[in-house]
Amino acid sequence: MKSLKDTIEFKGTKDGFIIVVNNEADFHNAKENLIEKINSNLFFFKGSQFSDIYATNLSDDEKNKLINFLVTKFNIKFLKKEKTILKDISKECSYTNINFEKTTKFIKNTIRSGAFVEYEGNIVVLGDVNPGAQLIATGNIVVMGALRGIAHAGSKGDDLAFVSAIKLNPIQLRISSVIAISPEDENLSANILPQIAFVHEGHIVIENYPTKI
């Protein structure tokens, strides 16, 4: 049995938080833990928006009770999405709801300064992308090497697109219409783990890859 702290997890999506309840937890456990978690960060959750609740162990009735409880007690908005993209809750993480269905362009060499690759679909580079080079894909971008140039994934407005690289060190990252630049003060050369960038609540978030799947 997992400790109580792991019973509840919050996942951010652009439509609001998703509450994920560990499938070993019962209703009582879940409710108690939920209160504890929200209370510990009341300022953060105040007026926030929730979109869904995942709990394989709880009945629909129990879920609705939880939702009603949250709405009344914490003044939290709850918008139930019509369709749930995430099927497998235990494997849910922020970038699993990506589109794998596009065609993919593979490039097997270093992309140097001045080079410009645009593709309707995903781009996979087996090599480095150097500063001054630019990759634009309507889908996802994966670099099996160092990404030091500019990458734009989901260029036609796909917020679910991601950019992943063995060494993610771009001058600028764009996903859909969101733009991010590397922090200047950070020593990026120290970063040796593969990373993945995706859009989370309107911002580009970078995580080490893989996260706990």
Partner: protein, 264 residues
């Protein structure tokens, strides 16, 4: 088997002309029949650096426009038996020569020379395209500066697109003390980005300025560290194995520098 080597960089002022003059001189000192061609039409410098400015009668544009035989435009160096120069025209521009004409000239010169070095102009326009047209190989010169490395990267991409593969890299004007303090890009940083073979590292050296102004290439000065570095590069161009020294050895600055350029 003669080789046509273009010396290029993208960015200006990193030492293409100085490198061409020194490598040409070093190769001729080794007994190789060498000709250097200044492809920087309109901004010719190579003749000045080599101290041959006052001997120019005809130039590269005169050859391609058939106002002279190519042998008439070849300026023989006053000090070195095997060294010749074809100067650029100063009064014309880059469009005066076509890539096809350059290739034809290079192929003609192959019959007489072991090494044909082409001093490429800065930039990626017609001048660059002319300079690389007849080349078998390329040497890319960069300095340990982000902008120069960026341009070198672009140039390597363009060379590959023009079917000139495996260019070699010269890192010019490296200041070892600054690298040690972490104030300058080090060799590994540069190689990490450019990912091509290093053929030489030339330390920053005041002798280069002196010799350039006098029109006497630094390779003739046995005391010049940069001159020694160029002599080593010339040997590597001929296929000799001269090892590079690990910079991370814990020792004094001078001995490190000497090892770096191969004096030890």
């Amino acid at each position: 088997m003669s080789k046509v080597i273009v010396i290029t960089s993208g960015k200006g002022g990193v030492g293409k002309t100085t490198s061409t003059a020194n490598l040409g001189t070093a190769l001729s000192l080794e007994g190789k029949r060498t000709i250097v061609i200044d492809a920087d039409i309109g901004l010719r410098n190579l003749d000045v650096v080599m101290g041959l400015e006052n001997r120019i009668v005809y130039d590269l544009v005169d050859i391609v426009e058939e106002r002279c035989k190519y042998k008439q435009a070849m300026v023989k160096d006053k000090r070195f038996e095997n060294l010749y120069l074809i100067p650029a025209a100063q009064t014309r521009d880059k469009d005066s020569v076509s890539p096809k004409q350059m290739k034809k000239l290079c192929d003609t010169l192959r019959e007489e020379f072991d090494f044909i070095l082409i001093d490429c102009p800065a930039g990626i326009e017609n001048g660059f395209k002319n300079a690389i047209a007849g080349a078998d190989e390329a040497i890319v010169v960069t300095t340990p500066e982000v902008s120069a490395v960026r341009d070198a990267d672009r140039i390597i991409g363009l060379l590959e697109a023009s079917e000139i593969h495996n260019p070699k890299l010269i890192i010019n004007r490296l200041k070892i003390d600054m690298v040690q303090r972490g104030d300058m890009m080090n060799i590994d940083d540069i190689l990490d980005i450019l990912a091509i073979d290093l053929i030489g590292v030339v330390p920053d050296d005041e002798n280069i300025v002196i010799s350039t102004n006098r029109g006497e290439p630094a390779v003739t000065n046995q005391k010049s560290l940069a001159g020694q570095a160029y002599r080593n590069i010339a040997k590597r161009i001929q296929g000799e194995e001269i090892p590079f020294i690990d910079l991370n050895l814990n020792e004094g600055f001078v001995s490190k520098l000497k090892k770096l350029i191969g004096l030890k």
